[in-house]
Structures are given as C-alpha cells and as structure tokens.
C-alpha cells in the first residue's frame, strides 16, 4: 500500500467519524477499539498492507492527532453537555483514576521487582509501572455517553457516571507529563530537574493557550482554524523537541484557552465536532503501530499485561466502592465494573508512550491499552446497560430491543 493510499484510507475514516458525530455516537463500539483492531490487521504484523516505515512516516500526523484529541479534552475539561461538572463528581473522578492508576502501578512495579524482564532495568521498570498506571486509569466517557444515547438513559446515576468519566482524564495526563519530565532524552543543551521540565510543560501549554485566546479575539472564519491548528502544531512540535509529553502540553493548552477566551463556547462547539474525525484515524494508526514481537520474545511481558489488567479491574472495583460510599449508596457493591470501560485516552496514552519508549516498555503499554479497551467492551458496556435498566434510568425498551437486534 502506498502512503497516498493510506492517507486516503485515513481520510475515509475521518469522513466516517464526522458522520458518527451527527448520529450521536451510537454506531460502533463506544471505545472505537474496532478501528485499532482493524489497524492491527492491516499493519505490519498481520496482513502487512501497511509497513512499519510507512507508519513512521506518518508519525507527525499521529503526534498532531494525539495532541488535538488531548486539546479537545482540555478545552472541555470540567464540563459535560455545556454545563460545569459538580465538584463532588470531579473529585470522585480524579480519585477513581488515582486509585486505579496507583493499584496498577504498584502491582506492575511489584511484579517487575520480583521477576526480571530482559531489556527492562530498574528505571525502565519505574517507567513501565507509571506508564501502566497512566494507561489504565481512565473510564472512558464515550462508553457512558454511548449507553445513555443508545438506551435513552436519563437520571442521577447516569449523569454522575458521565461526570466522573469526564473528569478522570486529568490524572493520567498529569502522570504522563511527569513521566516525560523524569525520563529525559539525550542531546538537550539545557539541564533542569524533573519538576523544572514539568513546569516547562505547564508553562508552554499555558502560554500557547493564552496566545491562542489573544489571537482568536480578532480572528474570523478560517483564521480561527489557522490560530487553533497553528498553536497546536507549534505546541506539539516544541514539546517533542524538548522531549516533553505533547498530549499533556496540549491538554494544558486547551484548559488555558477555555479559561482565557471569551469565545470558549463557540470553540467547544467547533472543536468538539472534530473529535471523532480525528479519533478514528488515530485509532487505526495506533493499531497498526502495535508490535507483538517484544511479547513473543519475553513471555514475562504477557504476565505483566495480565497482572496489569487484573490490577485495573481491582482498582476500578475499589473506585466503585468509593463512588457508592460517596454519592450513590443504592448501587450494588460491584458498581465498579461499569467503570472498567476505557478508550481513546488510554490508547492515546499507550501510543504516546510507544512512540517515546520504542521497544518492550512502549509496545507493552500500547498492547495493554488496547487489550484494556477490549476488556472494557466485553465487561463494562453490558454491565452499564444492565445497571441503567435495573435502576430505571433507561426507560425505552423499544430502543434497547432495537439496538440489541
């Protein structure tokens, strides 16, 4: 397959993604993991229609797409459906992500400290453990949104879950920012402590977000897109040159823009509409980037992924108990199962880590992200559907029956 053919394929996916927005995102799987699977199938390790060199050629596109998605999340952070997330829901969301990330991180590090994996030394083990925590921390808002739209669900529990899922992206992105600040690339002429690089990430995102807000004061029509794309690409490019986490920088940029721009509502509407158009091609490229070779070479990495998934389920069950205790006592003990759904943020985090740490660490984390999303599809989506019907928030059996068929 030529690069142009791949580009056309990505544009086709982008086109389909834009149609899904219009259809209220109820088509396909909530996490969009099927596109990652498609990418894997056409990628170098299955059918080989897209080779590794070509994927590497597309890496600037991947970086920009990842940055854009994080920027969209940042721009809309702390808001759902045009209103602010309640404080309690936000705290719960962040706490759930932290609990899960911590459980996964500790479990992974414990395993790596008792079992040696070739090519992963102590620093690598720390990066892998922290990365695993970041990759598995989220509950995707797409799953809750998908279930609410598909089964016409309305009520306090679905609203709470949606708010939690919309708030928990902060923790993994901050952890990614921290990982990149600690693990520095060679060849930089400036040396700073990790906290300094983390500060640079925040300052860069904040500065670019503010500049974007200033530019948008006088922008019109396509100049708005020019300012948005320009600052985003500059942010992504600068972050990559400094060895910083580009998706953390653009996330901060989105938050800063939302805070500084009086046109934030128009921007959210404009930018939000592009999310699926960017997401589907990104997922395809993420799937094509999956490399199973390190797992074949070191079976211990398969065990790492298994432990990581078990820890994730445990972390989410604990998170569920917290949610139950803090906000919804009427829910069952296993409400955490509905929080297992993961998706774009997980896969984006996995892909960013795979690009930054090529080899066993990055590849393991990307595989873990995709497997986690698949697990979420099998477990969480059905659990969520059952929960919503059980508590009477999904009240449209015709829609449910129609969709089930």
């Amino acid at each position: 397959m030529s690069a142009i053919a791949l580009l056309m394929g990505l544009l086709l996916l982008s086109y389909l993604g834009s149609l899904i927005v219009r259809g209220r995102a109820t088509h396909g799987l909530p996490s969009g993991v099927e596109y990652a699977c498609l990418g894997f199938v056409v990628g170098p390790h299955a059918l080989g229609l897209v080779d590794r060199a070509m994927i590497d050629d597309f890496s600037p596109v991947i970086h920009v797409a990842l940055g854009w998605l994080a920027f969209v999340v940042g721009l809309d952070f702390g808001r759902v459906e045009g209103r602010r997330v309640r404080k309690r829901a936000m705290v719960l969301g962040i706490a759930c992500a932290l609990i899960t990330g911590l459980v996964v991180g500790l479990a992974t590090f414990w395993l790596l400290s008792i079992a040696h994996v070739a090519g992963i030394e102590r620093t690598g083990a720390l990066v892998l453990a922290a990365g695993a925590g970041a990759v598995t921390a989220e509950t995707t808002r797409f799953a809750v949104d998908w279930a609410r739209a598909r089964y016409d669900a309305k009520g306090p529990v679905s609203a709470l879950l949606f708010e939690i899922a919309a708030s928990d992206d902060l923790a993994p992105l901050v952890v990614l920012g921290a990982i990149f600040s600690v693990s520095r690339p060679a060849g930089l002429s400036v040396e700073l402590p990790a906290i300094g690089w983390f500060g640079v990430s925040v300052a860069l995102g904040g500065l670019l977000g503010t500049v974007t807000a200033l530019l948008l004061r006088s922008a019109e029509g396509y100049a708005v897109w020019g300012a948005l794309l320009g600052t985003l690409m500059l942010g992504v490019g600068t972050a990559e040159r400094f060895g910083l986490c580009s998706i953390f920088v653009t996330f901060v940029m989105g938050v800063a823009l939302a805070a500084a721009s009086p046109a934030r509502r128009v921007l959210r509407t404009m930018v939000g509409a592009t999310e699926r158009s960017v997401l589907l091609p990104m997922l395809l490229l993420a799937g094509a980037r999956i490399d199973l070779n390190p797992l074949f070479q070191s079976r211990m990495l398969v065990v790492v992924i298994a432990v990581l998934l078990i820890a994730r389920v445990t972390g989410k069950l604990l998170s569920g108990l917290l949610v139950r205790a803090a906000a919804a006592p009427a829910l069952g003990k296993f409400v955490g199962v509905v929080l297992i759904a993961s998706g774009p943020i997980s896969i984006s985090s996995g892909l960013v880590l795979a690009l930054r740490f090529p080899g066993p660490i990055g590849d393991t984390l990307l595989v873990a992200a995709v497997v986690s999303a698949i697990l979420g599809e099998f477990v969480s989506t059905f659990a969520l559907k059952r929960l919503l019907f059980r508590i009477g928030e999904a009240t449209d059996p015709a829609a449910a029956g129609g969709s089930a068929s």
């Binding site: 142009i4 580009l7 056309m8 544009l11 982008s14 086109y15 834009s18 149609l19 890496s59 600037p60 970086h63 920009v64 940055g67 060849g187 930089l188 002429s189 400036v190 860069l204 500065l207 670019l208 500049v211 200033l214 530019l215 948008l216 004061r217 006088s218 922008a219 019109e220 029509g221 396509y222 100049a223 708005v224 897109w225 020019g226 300012a227 794309l229 320009g230 600052t231 985003l232 690409m233 500059l234 942010g235 992504v236 490019g237 600068t238 972050a239 990559e240 040159r241 400094f242 580009s246 009086p262 046109a263 509502r265 128009v266 921007l267 509407t269 158009s277 690009l355």
Partner: protein, 450 residues
Amino acid sequence: MSSSKHGKTVLGRIVDVFSLAVVFGIGYGASRVTSSFGEAAIAFALGLLLLGGTLMSELVEIIGVPHLTGYLLAGILAGPYVFHLIDHATAQKLEAVNSLAIALIALAGGAELRIDSLRQGFKSLLTATVFQTLFGLVLMAGVFFVARPAFVRDMPIVALAGVSLLWGVLAITRSPSATLAVLSQTRANGPLARFALSFIMASDVVVIVALAVVVTIARPLIEPGVALSFAAFRDLGYELLGSIAMGTTLGLALAAYLKLIGKQLLVVLVALGFGATEVLHYLSFDPLLTFLVAGFVVQNLSRQGDKFLHAIEETGGVVYVVFFAGAGAHLNVPLLREFWMVALLLTGSRVFVTFMSAKISSRVAKDEPAVRTWAWAPLVSQAGVSLGIAQVVARQFPSFGPHFRDIAIACIGINELVGPVLFKFALDRVKETKQPSPSLDDAEPTVLNS
C-alpha cells in the same frame, strides 16, 4: 489569510506583536535547546509558519502590504537562510502541502471564472493574452540576449538565442496563487479583479503551450546535433485534452456530490488535493489545468458554485498561509544576494515590458479605465509555475540549466515579494477591495442566545 477588525486597534497590534514575539521566541528557544529537529519537526514548522505567517500578515497590513507578503516574510525569517528555526530537510518536506494548495488555488480560480464575465471581457482578455505573450516573450528574450549573464557569455550566438527564448517563456509566467491570495484577502470585485483572474488563469494554459513550442525550437539551437522534433506536441495535446476531460468529469462529480450530499467538504477537498493530484501525475495530466476546469464546471454547469467557493475559502485560508510561508522559507537568500544585479535588471525589464504591453493592449481593446491604468499590476507576481519552468529547463538542459534556474529563482524571489504589493495597491486605488467579515467574538453572542 485572515483580516481583522479588532486587530486594527492599537491594542490589537500590540497583541499581534506580543504573539509574534512569543511564537518566534518559542522557535528560537527550541533551536537553542536542541539542534535535533526530531520526529515532529514538520508539525513544529507548520505551526511556526502558520502562526508566524498569520501574525506577520496582520502587522504588514498596517502599511497596506498584502497578507501574502507577510506570509513570505515570516517564512524567510524562520527559514534556513535567516534564523534557521526550520532546517532545509523540513522545508523540503513542507512541499507536500503544495499539491493541496495548488489544487485549491486552481479549483477556486476555475470557480471564480463565470461564463458571463468571460464573455463580456473576452475581447480584452484575448488582446491582453496576445500582446502580453508575444511582446513579453520576444522582448524579454531580447533583454536576456543583450544582458548576457555570465553563464551564457561563452555560448555561440545561436545557442544564446535559444536560451534567451527559454527566458522569454519564463518571463510570461504569472502567479495564479498570488493573484487568488490577494483577491481572497481583499474580497475584491470589479473590472480589474475580474480581468486579473481571467487573464492569469488563462495564461497558465498559454504558458504550457508556449513552453512546449519554445523547447521544441530552442533545443536544436542550443544543441546543434539535435534535429527539430514535434513529438513534444503529441504529448502536449494528450496532456491538454486529457486534463480538460478529466477536469470536466471531476467537476461534474463534485457538483453531484455538492448537490446530493454537500457535507464534509474539507475532507473531500483534502482527498482531492492529495489523492487526485497523485492520480493526475500518474496519468501525466496537468493538475493545475484539471482542477481549473473542474472548478469552472462546478461554477458554470451547476448551481453549487457559491457553496463550493465558500468551502474552498474555508479550507484554503489555512493552506495558503503554509504554502506561501513555506515558499518564503525556500527563498534562497544567498542566491538573491549573489545575483541581485542581473536579477534586478531582468525583473525591472519584465515589469516595464508588462506595463507597456498592458497599455497597448488596453488601448486596442478599449478597456475600462481601471483596467487601462492598472492591468499590468497583477501580472508582475511569479511563483510556483515559474519555479516549475525553471526546474524543467534545469532538468532538460543540464549544461547551463542549473545556472539558468539560479538566476530565475533570484528573479522570482523579487517578483514574489513585489508583485502582490503592486496588485493590492492597484485594487485599493480603484476601490475594488471590501471590508472584512465578522470575527469569532461576534459569533459568541449568537451562540449564547441560541
């Protein structure tokens, strides 16, 4: 390619200067921290050029200079010859954007051409084409022959005549992209804008034919052992007819899509810009002509013209900034410094010849006053087509072609900077430019109230 209402206040200008300083400051800081441009170098360059170009265009607007010049300046400053915020390799990679930009420029150019106005201005267009082409080619060949730059000094007279003819063809090339960029920024409408658009779009076809004719004639003059061959005309016929046929088909398909679906035009245009261009290259058709015809068909054989133009403007606005700023980054400043004297002589002569040809043809065609006075102004700009011809000469005549190309690049650089300024000045003088449209802040109350 934005224009602004708020940006014209003092505060707005200060904000622009601050933002530009931040953008270049980040670029400068990045270049000091690491010499490696890395994996995302292209994203960095695109962001820098897009923002730098947009901001610079807002600043140069103060002195009445078109945005296009601001984009070029930003590219020159950021490029490998001045601040080196973008390296050579990345500047080369930016050329990938060119195929999309050229497709959009040609589609917009075709869609701007309306049969009615072409019919009205047909006499003027035909006269100007004949005079500008014949006078321009012959007189500029003469100037080159007399100027006799260093690399042709030892050539026999006959060979020099052949090279001079090639220079003549180069001199009659115009810049559709610069013309459309200035028209897009100023939203100009009137006799001069219509004349400029139709003439320059038509001149693209004329130049393709002229190049084939001149190469056929010049080759035996330059290379004595080579016989006159008309094989080039067979290829030319294939290219022209094929491009027109393909453009018509594409135009009809686009019109059908716009009527039946009409959504996601951005994705469709990007797919056309990259995918269709690749197919056209494979088929040896001319993308510029094909897209020009496609745009013309959409405008004149369907009712989708305005919708189509709006979509192109939305997409093209961003692409043009990168296209021109990228061209600026490519501008070989050391070469310009080396050849500035001969380049100045050749460009000055070209402007004079264009001016005189325009005066004579306008008198013959009895043009309207605006065209009679300023018809020459839009014809000064040169850019991509001219560079393409310089590359063709360099490739087909390796003995002197690279030197020819170097001087051509120096001349094109001058014309690229001066031409758009002259064109905008002319449009301002004949009062064909319009006010900018509302900004994002104006949209906010509407959304809030809805």
